[in-house]
Amino acid sequence: MRTLIEKELRENLRWLWVGLALIGSLVWYATPKTLVANGESAETLIASPMLLGASLFALGLGVMQSFADLRTASRSFLFHRSVSIGSIFYSKLISGAILYFAAVGIPLCLVAIWFAAQGLDYLPVRPIQVYPAAVVALACFGFHPAAMLMLARSGKWFGTKLLPLFFVIPIVAIGGITINTILHGPALHVLIVGLILLGDLILVAAAKHAWVHSVADEGSFPKQPVNLALKLTLSIAAVVFVMFSFQVVAAFGGGWLPAETSSVEEDYAIDAEGNLWWVKSKRTRTEPWLAFISGDRLQKDELPDARRELPKKLQLGHLGKLTWVGTAKRCFAGEMAWYSKDLASYFDSRGNVLLYDRTLTPPLQARITRDGAPFAGDPRSSGSEDMFFYDKSGPSFWIDPIGAYRILSPSLKVETLLELPIQAKGSETRHTSNDQGTNKVQTQEQITILSDGKLHVYRLTDKDGNEWFPDFGRGKSEFKIREIAVSPPLPPSDWKDIRYHFTDDSKFTVVLTGRRPCFLTYDSKSDTHWTVTSFRNPNKKISDDLGSLLFSVLPLLFSIVVAVSIGSDLLLSGTSLPTIDSFKCFLQDEYGYVILGTVVLLFSMIGAYFACQRRMLSRSETIRWCCWTVLLGVATPIAVLAIYTRPACVRCTGCEKKRRIDLRKCEHCGCEWERTAPMGIEIFDDGFSKSKEQQLTPELTR
């Protein structure tokens, strides 16, 4: 095989220079070289062009390597030697991989070296940030065997020839996960790389089968049965193709779809009296804010019905939500926070806060640590961007899982405000009418922390104790933090999803949904302080008209993948999983889509049946494919047409029906092929002319 690999490398070396030029220029163009306001993080910037360049290069390389040696003369010359066709295939794959990884690896290594040489003094970048691009490149290599498969299998260019390429899309999507999970533990990355390699292995097995068994068919009905890898590849590719087509329609032609493109959410709301409601809110494409459309007041031990009409003149507001510190995502993305045109902070993945001023050289102005020790977590990554304010003369506030701090300016020293384990945190913007009583509002930031079963609420105040509003407060030299601390009378083990609303300092409501869903009302003026009311937990439901439509017509396989993904997200975020009640509710509310989905499934089965008939599959295979329709949906007919080749037919001289040319006996009447009548001019010597009838063997029958 070494000789074959050398031949391939020598033959295709020129494409390495093309790949280096393409990928190198794309990656270098995208690499951040200066601090850019609202710029994306380095790993996103590099991974995106890598996706484009590496996909094109892998595809092109696979096509060039295959096309050159699949033409009749060159294939005959190459295939007829004392090596197996499998070895020829693998030599092409290995040499393609060497060239490909050289073309993607060299630019990535150079960028990593450049990042290391730059250091954090100039840009908040580290060499590890090229890692997602490397994983994406690994995933994009799938286009190489996909191209080899595409060229080796039969199929029309305007038919299913290109279908194997769609199999690579989910592999690349899996690779793209690393962009947001770069700082996660190794287990996740092993899983991601493992899934990519598994996908590539399936593709390689399918491509090898096509090279060994299908190339010699040259479009005729294959003698060899289709292997599992090829079936799997083309079935998944067909599913992805269908999904991709729907995405294209949804992106460019959402208006053509019959459903109104709106989404409906169900959630808690609170009225001016402090009563809790379970309401349905709607968001449309043209009006992207949530508008309350119906709802029901939460009553003791009753299940609210969100479809009830809301009383007129009811003023409702949203509740704040605590985010569990432990579920904060760790990633580089979005960590640059800009406070002015030139000033930005960056949370170093090692736990330091770096302050950059891009008007100065070098731009790095300070590394803020917690008395020399790194911070234990980045609040920005848990979606609490408002927690960290920085101004050269203003206040800074910081929370991590082990404490709350403020950063003194202009010294940039860190003062510890709280030193306690913080399980959850949330920020809430309070709107207050301004002094003139007009509709203009001031926003006041308040931060809520859950620590050891106690809720701490912090509000910024000025030196006189008045509440401090960031909109007006910038430039004030001093401030204080006013704390309200309360302990809800339930053990923390019962808490799962925590929602809260402060009417004022003496009165607020906490909603706990967990093992025992209840809402707690706190009133400092009452004797007992706390009132606990349990209720039946309504299942949170988010439905999207367009999404429902797509879900009802897309393959079930896709729905299962999405459901597993949503389920794992819900588990991670501590939200309860859908129950039988929620399923019943879904059937009640979305029966239209259920009917549509059923109709689509039936039509898919009919389509699969006709596809099987067209490909002349046996009865058992037809039944099997009709059953697979439940999983593959509308993709099934496409998969059948792609996997099987239609045998040519000619008219049978026995029964006049069309019969398959590859079978010895007519499938309708059992008639054998008629021997063409002798022309009377044949000259055969005795040894061979007379023996020919006897030499026909039963193996001719398929």
Partner: protein, 307 residues
């Protein structure tokens, strides 16, 4: 009997779409023979050879090379079989020496002396790039690469295509030398009848995807005959001659070529009113051309007579 055959096929059939190109071919090529495969362009020769080599799947039927199923040939089986493709495909970016290295390392046996002598015979500098070689020189390299692997069975697809007379002579000499060394079997497809006659001892003729001749060259010569008759031009009765391969007009007389003629054939010719019947000498080339012309409508006497 099958063990004596280097090549055999039973009911070998190939369709492209719903058009049959090779139609239920039964053939046997004995070990140690040099066999010429003849036919017009499009007769199905290359398709047959590709199916025999396992490079094209037959629609029906099967074939064996050296006793192995053509579709199941292993790397070891292929090492025993030499094959040159039509047009002498070689990697144009390689030099002759690189081609030799590539071939040597992908075949277990290698006769370097054979390679060098063949290359010398065609006047090729081993350091030259393939792309600068003439067509004849490429044929020489191709042949040298195939023969140096010391195959037991050699299959050549139109090796003399487009060669000048000197290259053709060199090709023939090389083949004869190769065949004289041991029990080797050669199947040679060509349009050059003189070369075939010089080299082969068996002949196969294909017409419209069917095999019409499969015999020794001597048997073929003996069993085909040519006659000059004096019959009215365009007489449809001429078709009644048993074993009529082809008929044409020459100088007011009709020349007919007949397979397996006997007393009945002569009687049939007399019956259609031939005043004078003259047996003519016929060369191998003329006999083959009669078969090939028979399949081509434009040259056909039958077409001219409206048959």
């Amino acid at each position: 009997m099958l063990n004596d055959l280097a090549i055999s096929a039973q009911g070998l059939t190939r369709y492209f779409g719903d058009r049959v190109v090779v139609d239920q071919l039964d053939l046997g090529v004995p070990r140690g023979s040099v066999t010429g495969l003849l036919g017009l362009n499009g007769a199905g020769k290359t398709t047959t050879l590709r199916m025999l080599m396992g490079l094209l799947t037959p629609t029906r039927g099967q074939s064996q090379l050296l006793g192995k199923d053509s579709q199941q040939l292993t790397a070891e089986d292929r090492a025993r079989i030499g094959y040159t493709v039509e047009g002498h495909f070689l990697y144009s970016w390689m030099t002759v020496r690189q081609s030799e290295k590539f071939q040597r390392e992908t075949f277990p046996r290698w006769n370097n002396a054979m390679f060098e002598s063949t290359v010398r015979r065609f006047g090729i500098d081993p350091g030259q790039k393939i792309r600068v070689l003439s067509r004849g020189q490429r044929a020489g390299v191709s042949l040298a690469l195939t023969l140096a692997a010391e195959p037991e069975l050699l299959i050549l697809d139109d090796p003399a295509l487009g060669l000048d007379p000197v290259s053709r002579a060199a090709l023939n000499e090389t083949l004869l030398d190769f065949c004289n060394e041991g029990m080797r079997t050669v199947l040679l497809s060509s349009h050059l009848l003189d070369d075939i006659e010089r080299v082969v001892d068996r002949v196969l003729v294909m017409v419209h995807g069917r095999l019409v001749v499969n015999t020794t060259i001597d048997d073929f010569r003996n069993r085909i005959s040519s006659w000059s008759l004096e019959v009215p031009p365009a007489s449809r009765a001429i078709q009644a001659i048993p074993g009529l391969v082809f008929a044409k007009q020459r100088g007011g007389r009709t020349i007919v070529t007949v397979a397996d003629s006997d007393a009945e054939t002569e009687a049939a010719m007399m019956r259609i009113g031939a005043d004078s019947l003259e047996r003519l000498p016929i060369t191998f080339g003329e006999a083959v051309i009669a078969y090939l012309s028979q399949s081509r409508a434009s040259d056909s006497f039958f077409a001219n007579t409206g048959a």
